[in-house]
Amino acid sequence: MPDSRSEDRRPWSERSLAQLTLVRFREFIREPEAVFWTFAFPIILALGLGIAFRNKPADVVTIGAIHGTAARDSVVARLQHAHGLRVLSMDDSAAARALRTGEVALVVVASAGGAEYRFDDTRPEGRSARALVDDALQRAAGRKDPMSVSERKVREKGSRYIDFVVPGLLGMNIMGGGIWGLGFAIVEARRRNLLKRLVSTPMPRSHYLASFLFSRFFFLVLEIAVLVGSAALFFDVPVRGSVLQLFVVCLSSALAFGGMGLLIASRARTMEGVSGLMNLTMMPMWVLSGVFFSSSNFPRVAQPVIQALPLTATNNALRATMLQGAGWSAVAPSLAIVGAWLVVSFALALKLFRWR
């Protein structure tokens, strides 16, 4: 009898791997929330951030100058012509109030032969106002610059905030897709006794797990295309490196996060339990791994840990590829970190995984 069963003439589409992968697609596209969080949300986020942090022309700094005496009025007159300054002439108490509320960045109080600057030196506007006002007043008083300088203005795409944040969002999306995508689906199947039902059939267990990886692979291509495509369309965000390299970086990190999702889901029986574990895993990376701001803002002692996180490595490799056009050798260290997470999490997950 085993002989007659071993010959299998079914077309591939009727076999378990294809059918299980189809189930993954069907369950995903029939869940409108999942489609929204995967595709629409990152675009909306990128649009919002792109508008909020769009590059503005060099700001004009507003300052206050106290009027009343002849010396003071002449200072007001001199500053009116200075470049990059808007001068409000006001009395003492109005000036104090304006400084406190941030309406003006600095207040000039002139006296015969000198001036006092009142400003908050911890605010960048205060410091730049001081430099501008001082420069204007010293020149008007007859200062000659001992060295001649020239300026050339460089505003390049690739160095704007939107350029920084799009690769971060892509990395975050890949992490969410892997961890949420596998974690929830597997724990839900275990909770419903469906995993047990599946292993009571001759289904090869590897096919069940592989179906998740295949469907992730497909949706990953879509995610990259949608996010990178719309960032290029709306904001001119560049992809300077090779598209193949970008894809390899995305794929390896998607596999690593898939492994982590599998590991998180390997034993949990309840949705609450697995949600807690997933948030515990992802929350530190949202903050530390340089999604919205550079991870170099964190103290030096924490850097070895932060740099070893899979999302940090992913974001570094994505930025190097998209923004700097770096080649394979530049992203190799990041890929190695991602690869280590991939191997360790898969190995542990397969060891711990509970089917029943």
């Binding site: 069963r5 009727e14 294809a18 419903r192 006794n193 009571s200 059939t201 001759p202």
Partner: protein
């Protein structure tokens, strides 16, 4: 091959911590037979059937399914079995057709998906999502997933629990048809009418052991009483009626009392009921309710354990 039993279990034992779920259980299910494990909730039926299905490891004992063992032949064995678990919630977002097609894909050989849908009478629901099905329809879908691999042996764990009477009858007809097609079936149930109606033989299970085994008719006959008489005497003072007095009535085989309700096992109603009424009259006890029914497996369970199946 015909002589190989569908299922052979010897000395099965399984404990969860201090709780002994299965306590030295032996049974043999013949090929082509429909065999029932009947017992109250918590008797160890599900643990037993899941060990037989290769889903739970026993602490001790031997299980042979269709002449094969789980430790060597798991993959080959799974091709030959159909399994319905007690509580499986199939994916709600898939349709009936997609679900059965998925399960079909796991078997090298099996039945046509459309045929199976017709067999379980879900033709009209073919394209409906699983989440929209009624309880009975879901249970028939679960049965479809169990038979789509064209199994030689079918395990059904509580196939009709929680269903309305009409859905239960529909499932009974399906199971009867499956048995008629020559498959061996092992099912668990805590409904005695289900076991009586479907099973060639039943094992009554209590506290992880088999306490009675045989064809339903034989087990009922073993009571020695064809009928059961139940009555109450609402106004009788306590102690006015006792078991010895009742047992003395002609044709009474056994007497039990529970919450003021008397139960007599009797051989012949025409002989015993008039005698009972005369006795009550002689004692000047008013009769409350009086009911009689033919003896069932429930009565067998009660006579063996002193408890009702339902509240055991």
């Amino acid at each position: 091959m015909a002589n190989v039993p569908a299922l052979k279990v010897e000395g099965l034992r399984k404990a969860y911590g201090d709780v002994v779920a299965v306590d030295g259980l032996d049974l043999t299910v013949n090929a082509g037979e429909c065999f029932g494990l009947l017992g109250p909730n918590g008797a160890g039926k599900t643990t037993t059937i899941e060990i037989c299905e290769g889903l739970t490891d026993p602490d001790a004992g031997v299980v042979e399914v269709l002449g094969q063992r789980w430790d060597h032949d798991e993959r080959a064995l799974r091709e030959r079995l159909g399994i319905q678990l007690q509580e499986t919630q199939l994916a709600e977002k898939l349709t009936v057709d997609e679900t059965i097609r998925l399960f079909r894909s796991f078997y090298v050989r099996g039945r046509d998906v459309g045929d199976v849908i017709d067999v379980v009478q879900l033709g009209e629901k073919r394209s409906s999502r699983v989440g929209k099905l009624s309880g009975g329809q879901k249970q028939r879908l679960a049965l479809a997933c169990a038979i789509v691999g064209d199994p030689e042996l079918l395990f059904l764990d509580e196939p009709t629990t929680g269903l309305d009477p009409q859905s239960r009858r529909q499932l009974w007809d399906l199971i009867t048809e499956l048995r008629a097609s020559g498959r061996s079936i092992v099912l668990t149930t805590h409904y005695m009418d289900e076991a009586e109606r479907l099973c060639d033989r039943v094992a009554i299970v209590d506290h992880g052991r088999i306490i009675a085994l045989g064809a339903p008719r034989e087990l009922i006959a073993s009571l020695g009483a064809e009928h059961v008489v139940e009555f109450t005497t609402p106004e009788a003072p306590p102690g006015a009626l006792d078991a010895t007095r009742l047992r003395a009535i002609d044709g009474v085989m056994a007497v039990r009392e529970h919450d003021g309700r008397w139960t007599l096992e009797v051989a012949n109603l025409a002989q015993t009921v008039p005698a009972l009424l005369a006795e009550l009259q002689r004692l000047q006890l008013g009769l409350g309710e009086l009911a009689t029914h033919s003896a069932t497996l429930e009565d067998v369970f009660v006579s063996l354990t002193g408890r009702q199946l339902r509240d055991a």
